[in-house]
Point group: C2
Chain length 257, copies 2
């Protein structure tokens, strides 16, 4: 029997994009030999990430016009799931108070946020629930550090949402997984301090477990990167190779399209 968290996590498995990839089977295929990319480093620059993949992600956002990538660091994660945890963690480290940062989201929110915070039981973060309820509560003293997760477009209703909270004590994570033209018209370029995207929603490859964050602040970037390395030593190089080929097809760079 599957646990509730397993079923909930896979809601929105985007198999409706499968026909596109079947039509582009040749251009999007990858042949990986047993001796290919064995090392945990990419040879040329001693890095854990593919510089070529980072470049094509910037190109993808420019072609689609859904996000600003200038002056942004890019971090890869094993799905947006790992990046949410990395973001919450990195933002909580900017909290100089002895009281843990409060993690908030607008209802209806992804139940995983709560499960995350409770299961990992970090001394740095406490899940506090609905952002609007917090805004009206006594806890909202403009001093307590809070981290608000804004999922826009919202899942499942597709509405564009804005942050409920603001102020110098508020940090915001923009989960933009659904902000692609095959879900809704992309009317502006996301230009936030910290925004998350996932391959799962961009191309439909949920099984590849690949996501990326666009991050403005260097300190937040460094701490997110550290989180990813300490928790899984980066993202599978097999996956990075596969994703590179898929995105080449999408942006029309050496693919069939």
């Amino acid at each position: 029997m599957k646990a509730a968290y397993e079923l909930a996590a896979c809601i929105g498995d985007p198999l409706f994009l499968e026909p596109f990839w079947m039509q582009n089977a040749e251009g999007s295929a990858v042949l990986e030999s047993g001796w290919h990319r064995m090392s945990c480093l990419f040879h040329k620059d001693g890095s854990y990430v593919s510089a070529e993949l980072e470049k094509i992600i910037r190109k993808l956002h420019n072609v689609v016009g859904n996000a600003v990538t200038d002056k942004r660091f890019i971090i890869f994660g094993t799905g947006a799931t790992q990046l949410i945890a990395a973001s919450v963690h990195a933002l909580s480290l900017t909290n100089s108070s002895s009281s843990p940062a409060r993690l908030l989201a607008s209802v209806p929110y992804y139940a995983t946020y709560k499960e995350h915070a409770e299961f990992f039981n970090s001394s740095n973060v406490k899940f506090e629930g609905d952002a609007s309820a917090w805004k009206k509560s006594k806890g909202n003293d403009n001093i307590t550090q809070v981290i608000e997760v804004v999922t826009s477009p919202s899942n499942p209703d597709g509405k564009l949402k804005r942050a409920v909270l603001d102020g110098p004590n508020v940090k915001t994570i923009h989960d933009c997984a659904y902000y692609w033209p095959h879900f809704l018209p992309t009317t502006h370029q996301v230009d936030e301090d910290l925004s998350l995207f996932s391959l799962s929603k961009a191309t439909g490859h949920a099984g590849s477990r690949f996501g990326w964050a666009l991050v403005k602040d260097k300190y937040i970037y460094e701490n997110m990167k550290r989180y990813i390395y300490l928790s899984s030593m980066g993202v599978s190089r097999d996956t990075q190779l596969h994703v590179l080929q898929l995105l080449k097809v999408v942006v029309g760079d050496g693919g069939e399209e």
Copy 2:
């Protein structure tokens, strides 16, 4: 510039196995189409893991004779790195005391254990350093819950090690990453409650970020699985496909060998 934790983490990148894979280039290659394995579930059983891969891992241990897999659950992780975190977490949940469990290892230990415990700052676990020093200390009251990580063979000296601590309050994680015949003669089958292996050392594919745990207890197994799902929603299906093909070659099941 690379941070110290990044360089330390990649020590032992096992590229000496590259010639073997070059000789077996054809049998170990994988062609992955863009439409292949998009879902986050494996179709037949609604699972996040490949049942076929689990089967071949059991076969690998039987052929090599380095570990007992009967009556063991198998958990996949994004490298042994993620599995260490999952193990520590799951074992800390068996702690009914209000004091956090102590995480220990024999010197010289992998510095990442300490960094992990400090960076993630879980309320459940505190890094306490050397197991032998703890054994002689006042803290060793046979009540405080402790988790000892035993890396055997040891890295870097290759010595077989045993747990320093025992008792009803002690849980042990056996990191057996180097227990393969290409590193030293495998004289016995590992038969512990919780042991970890990694593809990085088994076949040399550090870049694939794949490891597995053999776990006896169902409660520990369930909590490790939950950790993996909540932190990254399982392991990349691209990687699982690649690993399956590599291990088929190793066990001589449809490969070239």
